[in-house]
């Protein structure tokens, strides 16, 4: 489990995260959404020990990332949006870097490369940007770390590779792994998420499981006239609306609509969830 408590972080004097408290559990895929500059990458870097929090405490499986203990470093993998590779071949890269990850599986690595149509014997410098990104994703998946942080993983990938990546990621997750994906491409990865967290103004403006979202909220283009409309948008199919879900059926979830709704009407939406939590107790 990852626990963040009252985390604040500033670049010089600009605060990015303010008093952020949350947890991430294994067995789940988390989607981290937020505008550009909302602090998604910062949050992932803090959890990987690449940045240190100004105030507050982070623990990953009980150890603090900033101490960079070997046991911590071999249990996390961070795929950054900008990538750097040394000028060597793929086999040399594996030979040099795989030993840092005790659960690394070469078989899985080759399987991933094949899915992305990349030959094993390539020199890394000969690869395009997109191919390098794929190579890093392959390594990240094959490293089999309990914690995997992906910053915009589908950025720069072509259409078939996006589908291939989704398939690989769906085969990757199990009870011992926690994956946190920051993304703008909600349509790419929406089907894979267990949980959605939206970063706004340095805090988590919204954080709920997909299951709760589909129970509490109704995404539809026709609603009963007395339903409270939380957000509405004109579209080709008429008005697409977000209302409280009183239908008794779980609703499909439109993440783009949810994101816009939270931006405009976040407080009211969170109230709906708080109310149900109280009933549950």
């Amino acid at each position: 489990m990852i626990a963040l408590k009252n985390i604040s972080f500033a670049y010089k004097k600009t605060f990015v995260l303010k008093e952020l408290t949350t947890t991430f559990n294994t067995g789940q895929i988390y989607g981290l959404l937020g505008d550009n500059g909302a602090g998604k990458t910062t949050l992932l870097k803090l959890m990987s020990g690449l940045l240190f929090p100004g105030t507050g405490k982070i623990t990953v499986q009980g150890s603090e990332p900033q101490q960079r203990r070997p046991s911590f470093l071999q249990s996390v993998f961070f795929v950054a949006d900008n990538i750097f590779f040394p000028g060597i071949s793929i086999p040399q890269y594996i030979e040099g870097y795989a030993p840092f990850y005790p659960q690394f599986s070469k078989k899985q690595f080759i399987h991933c490369l094949t899915a992305f149509n990349i030959g094993y014997d390539n020199d890394i410098e000969a690869l395009s940007f997109g191919q390098k990104k794929k190579l890093l994703l392959c390594f990240a998946l094959a490293a089999n770390t309990p914690y995997l942080f992906l910053d915009e993983p589908t950025n720069g990938l072509d259409i078939p590779s996006r589908a291939a990546f989704k398939e690989l990621l769906s085969g990757h997750i199990d009870d011992r792994k926690c994956v946190i994906v920051s993304t703008h491409q909600v349509n790419d990865l929406g089907n894979l998420l267990d949980h959605v967290s939206i970063l706004q103004n340095g805090k988590l403006a919204f954080s709920q499981s997909m299951e709760q979202i589909s129970r509490q909220l109704l995404f539809d283009n026709a609603t009963s006239p007395d339903a409270e409309i939380l957000f509405a948008e004109e579209s080709l199919r008429g008005r697409t609306m977000l209302t409280k879900n009183d239908s008794g059926y779980p609703s499909g979830v439109d993440l783009e609509l949810l994101y816009k709704a939270v931006t405009i009407n976040g407080e009211r939406i969170n109230q709906l969830f708080a109310y149900t939590e109280n009933i549950a107790i």
């Binding site: 769906s170 199990d174 089907n191 998420l193 299951e211 589909s214 539809d220 779980p250 499909g252 979830v253």
Partner: protein, 125 residues
Amino acid sequence: MDFNNNQPIYLQIVDFICEKILLSVWKQEEKIPSVRELAVQLSVNPNTVARSYDFLRSQEIITDKRGIGYFISSNSMQQAKQYRKNLFIEQELPLLFRTLNMLDITPDELDKLLIKYKRKLQHEK
């Protein structure tokens, strides 16, 4: 598989499996893919497929043989049909009625179209 936004994914997977059963693609007593296999096949979260299987089990459409896997129940055809029928009446029919009403389509007209459709199906077979 194309997913839409109108229904939770786990229920869309339930529909997908019910259709396989109703069209006899997956037959009674047959073993079905494991949670993990189906998740990869459909590129969805394994937790989602696990929810679909739980749901199908509660509807007695599939059974769980511990340690071996999931199998299509012996009375799956009946159960799947019942489940889909309820869903159709509760969710799809109101929308259909709305359109029928809007376009003034009479039951007679509808009946003729249905007969025509069934004939076409027979012909294709």
